[in-house]
Symmetry: C2
Subunit: 193 residues, 2 copies
DNA sequence: GTCTATAAACCGATAGAC
DNA sequence: GTCTATCGGTTTATAGAC
């Protein structure tokens, strides 16, 4: 039994993921959330921007926990990459190529248009990198390698999401996975470095 | 001395790159292009959607030629990856993290909302992969490796653009470049395959 | 605090003068 | 082919009843 505010934030997150920030109207949000229009300005006096900032941070945190749950089951980095990309592909297909990254669309939209929201997306991505780096360190990598590999993992997923959603197939996800595996292996057995 | 239509298409491309599709108004387009409002519907009877479709294909083709010009100067794949990512980082910094991929924002926005425009973005990405694959073949890679590496190159760039524009630094671009290099090297000297 | 009504501005799209 | 005026409709945001 979620409160009205939580329902608005959750619904807005789903709409942002599919339609982006300017593409989603407040009217559509309250209609989908089953909430009265005034509730938005009751809970978010700062209007659409304040709602968006909270949505970015909330769905960013939720997605991070989802990915962490997957990564933490893996015994090593290669297995983690394998299962992570497989799970992403499954979700993508199962949702008709709609549910990829919850904030990427908004991140690109606000990067040059809304400094407040850009900072919110930057914080989310930074938290993801930190979270991933911690796990790569746990799998035995040195701090800078761990940070670099976590960045590689996230950028590869994000880039593959763009191509896969456009093409409506998972080819880019498979190719991206192979590159991340290569990057992990190169550090694990550094023969040409 | 570009015609009004070409000026509208060019201006719209720049606005889409920064603000996305629903975030850019037709009024803003004609104002920025110095064209009368009626010209849009004179040249694009299908309205905003038809204009967007032409913008996606046009800027997709232009960006492809830009990248090809860089890749064709490289003697081998590793050098090409190196200079390609370096050029992307330079452009990003020089434009205040605005000029990254010309169609990624729109691609994510329309992927689940406009089937016509989604197909346009899919065609552009497919052409990019074909173009890159041809060059990797020229550098000595087998057809499927070439296609996979081209896909890796494009997805890595796209994903890095998302994080770099959000964070306003080029760290993700550097990490992504290292992964693409690793993927190329792994095929060049396949010891663990 | 919940909900409705409405304001003021803006949207895409159209009509029609020139 | 250029340009302006305007139409409905929708947007974000607010005022105020309950």
């Amino acid at each position: 039994m979620a409160g009205t505010k939580e329902r608005i934030v959750g619904t807005t997150g789903e709409l942002f993921r599919r339609q982006g920030y300017p593409g989603t109207g407040l009217k559509q949000i309250v209609a989908a959330a089953g909430a009265p229009f005034g509730s938005i300005y009751h809970f978010f006096p700062g209007g659409k921007q304040q709602l968006a900032a909270e949505v970015i941070r909330t769905s960013g945190r939720a997605y991070q926990q989802l990915v962490e749950a997957i990564l933490d089951q893996a015994p090593d980095a290669i297995t983690a990459v394998e299962t992570g990309f497989a799970a992403a592909a499954e979700t993508l297909v199962a949702t008709g190529y709609a549910d990829a990254c919850p904030i990427a669309t908004v991140a690109l939209e606000v990067a040059s248009t809304d400094e407040t929201l850009r900072e919110a997306t930057a914080e989310v991505f930074a938290a993801w990198v930190d979270s991933g780096a911690m796990r790569f360190e746990r799998w035995g990598f040195a701090p800078d390698d761990a940070r670099r590999l976590a960045t590689v993992l996230i950028t590869s997923l994000e880039g593959a999401f763009v191509l896969c959603r456009a093409a409506r197939n998972t080819e880019a996800l498979a190719a991206a996975a192979s590159a991340v595996r290569a990057a992990v292996r190169e550090v694990s057995s550094p023969e040409g470095r």
